[in-house]
């Protein structure tokens, strides 16, 4: 799935692709918002970090509690004031909170990894 298709997620403001270190590889931004490539690059780095932390916590939680179903972590979302960043493995989409559909965003990102 391309960034064009990620931009079709309801409320999408930006879509971006990043490598395993979090460096921004490609991006698309809807006109009229303040999401600069610099912010998206920083966002991609935090998403990689948060996915790694979430994986560590999920693995530890499953080992400690015996509960299953958390691993492998499929995605992470940072819910801001006006928008949410929803990320999968190497792609992310920023969606307006007013129109957000988290499940649609996670499903679209899962298709990116397919």
């Amino acid at each position: 799935m391309s960034l064009d298709q990620l931009m079709q997620v309801p409320g999408a403001l930006a879509a971006f692709q990043y490598d395993d270190k979090g460096d921004l590889q490609a991006h698309q931004v809807k006109e009229g918002n303040e999401l600069t490539p610099q912010v998206l690059d920083l966002l991609a780095h935090t998403c990689v970090a948060n996915m790694a932390i979430a994986t560590m916590e999920a693995r530890g939680w499953e080992a400690l509690t015996g509960q299953t179903g958390f691993e492998p972590v499929q995605g992470f979302s940072l819910v801001g004031l006006d928008w949410s960043a929803v990320v999968g493995r190497n792609h992310g989409v920023v969606v307006k909170n007013r129109d957000v559909d988290y499940e649609a965003a996670f499903a679209a990102l899962a298709n990116c990894g397919a």
Partner: protein
């Protein structure tokens, strides 16, 4: 109805709770022991502090970027998700529609949805939602 009880009324929600930003106080309902709820509270509190710190850094690059203050975060696992908004957490299954409903309730109570959450939830259907509902 308390927000935790509202969340627990949704089929597929495993557990929901509230934690204090300072100290180890917490309350919860659901399929979780007291010790697990304590651990979940600590985990959620530390992650919330981390994403708030990240938003502070974003705002250094773009003052009005729209992320600050952070409302919460979601970890989407293979079959389960953890949703946190403010100082509330919810563990739920990945059944269709559940994640959006949980987040709508959490955001309506502690986040940014100012109007009636029912109106917000049904707004996705389109048309005059107020007329249809009332």
């Amino acid at each position: 109805m308390r927000i935790i009880s509202q969340l627990m009324a949704i089929p597929g929600v495993i557990a929901a709770g509230e934690y204090a930003f300072r100290g180890d106080r917490y309350s919860f309902e659901g399929n979780m022991t007291d010790e697990l709820a304590r651990m979940a509270s600590i985990l959620c509190r530390s992650n919330t502090l981390a994403v708030n710190m990240q938003a502070e850094i974003f705002s250094a690059f773009s003052e009005n970027c729209g992320c600050k203050p952070v409302q919460g975060w979601i970890v989407h696992g293979k079959m389960m998700s953890v949703c946190v908004v403010g100082n509330f957490f919810c563990f739920c299954q990945n059944t269709p529609g559940l994640l959006n409903d949980v987040m709508t309730i959490l955001r309506a109570k502690v986040g940014d949805i100012e109007e009636n959450p029912l109106v917000y939830m049904y707004a996705k259907l389109g048309g005059d939602v107020n007329e249809k509902l009332y």
